[in-house]
């Protein structure tokens, strides 16, 4: 290489990096507004909550808080009601999400088939998802009502139960009433995501399977499910995270009932009813930690699975 060419090559480097710096600066400029908003509405409140968790702050006068170290967490981890609410939340999540995934997938398969009135059916299925959760929960609350509720009316009328049941007050029934309402409400969301996945399945592959004589369960579990796996995993992740944070359905239907109390309901009770901002914040922080941990583990498992695929 000649001397001139070499200097030329050397000179090129700073010019390229200046362009890179310019691009980086522009990128930060565009990101700044959203970063600012995120810091104000997400990072700051989150940090405040973490901080309150280490104090004995009171709702009446949060300013007069004293640092008490891990005292709140020590008490939290020994409170049987907290562990009860953790168990309730986990039970609710496992049962409700499993039901939603199975029923949602079945509905999606039905909607994906060439059935008449498909467009109308798709819209109709979405209705429960469109209704605000509080409204839906209140509506179900009335239907579950032990004396005036339509559910008891129908079941007694059909002779399926002898006497009217207190669906939301009975300790053994309440959690199932909550689960049923949540499944009714969020299955359409799962169905929609799975349907989107199903519509991405190439027709040729389904026809190749048809030529291979594959049908029914083998077609679904052997061909379709592996192809829509990522859509199913995403739907399940969303539902798991939502369920771990579950508050509105439970609170509207059963209030502070111990048999249905979730982690969020527990934190609210401490923070609002008992005015204990410090302790409530500690419970909320722990809930945040649990949800974060679950999503990180879930995503990592998903990625490992994908790497194994390749």
């Amino acid at each position: 290489m000649t001397q001139a060419a070499m200097t030329g090559a050397v000179r090129k480097t700073p010019a390229a990096s200046r362009l890179t710096r310019q691009r980086a600066r522009a990128a930060w400029l565009f990101l700044a507004p959203s970063l600012l908003v995120l810091i104000l509405v997400a990072a700051w409140p989150l940090l405040r909550t973490f901080a309150y968790g280490f104090t004995d702050a009171n709702l009446a006068d949060p300013g007069a808080a004293a640092f008490i170290g891990f005292e709140n967490y020590r008490f939290l981890l020994t409170d049987p009601l907290w562990w009860r609410s953790v168990w309730n939340t986990v039970f609710f999540t496992v049962v409700a999400v499993s039901l939603e995934m199975v029923i949602g997938t079945i509905i999606a398969l039905a909607l994906n088939a060439a059935v008449p009135w498909r467009g109308g059916l798709r819209a109709a299925v979405l209705i429960p998802w469109v209704i605000p959760t509080v409204v839906a929960a209140q509506m179900w609350g009335w239907m579950y009502h032990d004396i005036h509720g339509v559910l008891n009316e129908i079941l007694v009328g059909l002779g399926l139960i002898e006497a009217k049941l207190a669906w939301t007050a009975d300790p053994d029934l309440a959690i199932w009433a909550v689960i049923f309402t949540d499944v009714w409400k969020t299955t359409p969301f799962v169905a929609l995501l799975v349907l989107a996945g199903l519509q991405m399945v190439p027709r040729d592959i389904l026809e190749a399977a048809k030529m291979d004589g594959v049908s029914g369960f083998k077609l679904f579990f052997g061909v379709i499910l592996p192809l829509i796996r990522s859509a199913v995993l995403v739907a399940a992740l969303f539902r798991i995270l939502d369920s771990l944070r579950i508050f509105d359905v439970i609170y509207v239907l059963t209030g502070n009932n111990e048999r249905t109390m979730s982690m969020s309901v527990y934190a609210r009770q401490q923070l609002v009813d008992f005015q204990d901002v410090g302790f409530g914040s500690a419970a909320t922080s722990l809930l945040f930690g649990i949800v974060a941990l679950v999503s990180v583990v879930y995503l990592m498992l998903g990625r490992l699975e994908l790497m194994r695929e390749d």
Binding site: I205, G213, L227, E309, D310
Partner: protein
């Protein structure tokens, strides 16, 4: 191996007929290629035979048995899709074995068949790979392998080479031809590529708007097209078609060529109409290789000589295509030697020998084609 019979097969989608009253018989071990422009119904035809679509009316027979109501796996057919349609989550081995395990074959038998066809297609090394890590040509081989392992009576190919690049397409074309000789199988092959049709087929079916235009051996279709559509569809570059009108003048019947050039109707053409009445409109056709280039304008008696203006010259190495403008609407193409040189805009003379002329009537049906010795 199997005989296929289609009689009066019609397929309607809503109000449109994709295939209309189609009759076709395929002999045992025959390689039949269906070609036609897009939307002509060729893929529908294949899917009807496969059983992926139901016929609206008519019968599909395999070895004499009507299979209209038989589901695809029971028809003894294997199909190769344009997109390969491999199962992306399965290894090559599983892709090939999946249909067999479904058919409840014994494990050793499945293994034997998979290994045999992998060897035949030279994909033994790929058996444990997933389709994602294969090239287009390799995927195509796997797709063909998946068809072979089923040892079907009939192979269906739906534009199998259209997703490959040009070089690979030629290679796979030869491979399919060889495979077919080895397997001695009956094949129904759909393509829009007439080169594939010409090189692979025992017989070609030309389909247009759901109807058969002509069925025949490749060279027969080239030399003796039954109508203007077939003449125009087979052959690259396409046949030159000159719409003409016939009228009577002082010296008897005259022919008016594009560009309003009038000349007495040559005796050779006159003979095409026989004793019957002379039609008012005809179309004359010459294959590009039948067109001679002349330096001057002096015309031979047994040819029509046209003065044209060169538009583009395409040097292909072994030969040269000269596209020249006759008038506003008509471009005439001639095949010239490898060293032919001309500038766009240059005036040249094209000589169209009458003994190599195809003649079509006003409806496009063939009145006359050159005797085969002269066409070439």
């Amino acid at each position: 191996m199997a005989r296929i019979g289609l009689s009066q097969v019609t397929k309607r989608f809503g109000g449109t007929e994709a295939v209309s009253g189609l009759d076709l018989d395929i002999a045992d071990g025959e390689f039949v290629v269906v070609v036609g422009p897009s939307g002509c119904g060729k893929s529908t035809l294949l899917r009807l035979v496969a059983g992926l679509e139901d016929v609206s009316s008519g019968d599909v027979r395999i070895d004499g048995q009507v299979v209209n109501d038989l589901p695809p796996p029971e028809r003894g057919i294997a199909m190769v899709f344009q997109s390969y349609a491999l199962y992306p989550h399965m290894t090559v081995r599983k892709n090939m074995a999946f249909g067999l395990s479904q058919a409840k074959l014994r494990r050793e038998e499945i293994d034997r068949r998979v290994r045999a066809s992998a060897t035949r297609l030279r994909i033994e090394d790929l058996l444990d790979r997933k389709p994602k890590s294969l090239s287009g040509g390799q995927r195509q081989r796997v797709a063909i392998g998946r068809a072979i392992v089923r040892e079907p009576k009939l192979f269906l190919f739906d534009e199998p080479l259209s997703n490959l690049d040009a070089a690979l397409r030629v290679e796979m074309r030869m491979e399919i031809a060889k495979l077919r000789r080895d397997l001695n199988a009956t094949v129904l092959y759909v393509t829009h590529d007439q080169t594939e049709a010409m090189t692979l087929a025992d017989r070609i079916v030309i389909l247009n708007q759901g109807r058969v235009e002509q069925v025949g051996e490749p060279l027969e279709l080239y030399r003796r097209p039954r109508n203007i559509f077939v003449a125009g569809f087979i052959g690259t570059p396409a046949i030159n078609l000159l719409p003409c009108t016939l009228g009577s003048g002082a010296e008897g019947t005259v022919i008016v060529l594009p560009g309003d050039r009038t000349m007495p109707l040559p005796e050779t053409l006159r003979a095409c109409f026989g004793a019957g009445e002379v039609p008012s409109r005809i179309t004359l056709g010459w294959r590009p290789e039948a067109v001679n280039l002349r330096g001057g304008t002096g015309g031979r008696k047994d040819a029509i000589t046209l003065g044209v203006e060169v538009e583009t010259v395409e040097h292909l190495g072994a030969e040269t295509f000269v596209h020249a403008r006759l008038d506003q609407r008509t471009i005439v193409t001639a095949t010239a030697g490898a060293n032919f040189q001309a500038q766009p805009g240059q005036r040249v003379a094209f000589e169209l020998p009458l003994n190599r002329c195809h003649v079509f009537d006003g409806e496009g049906a063939t009145l006359h084609h050159p005797s085969s010795g002269e066409e070439g």
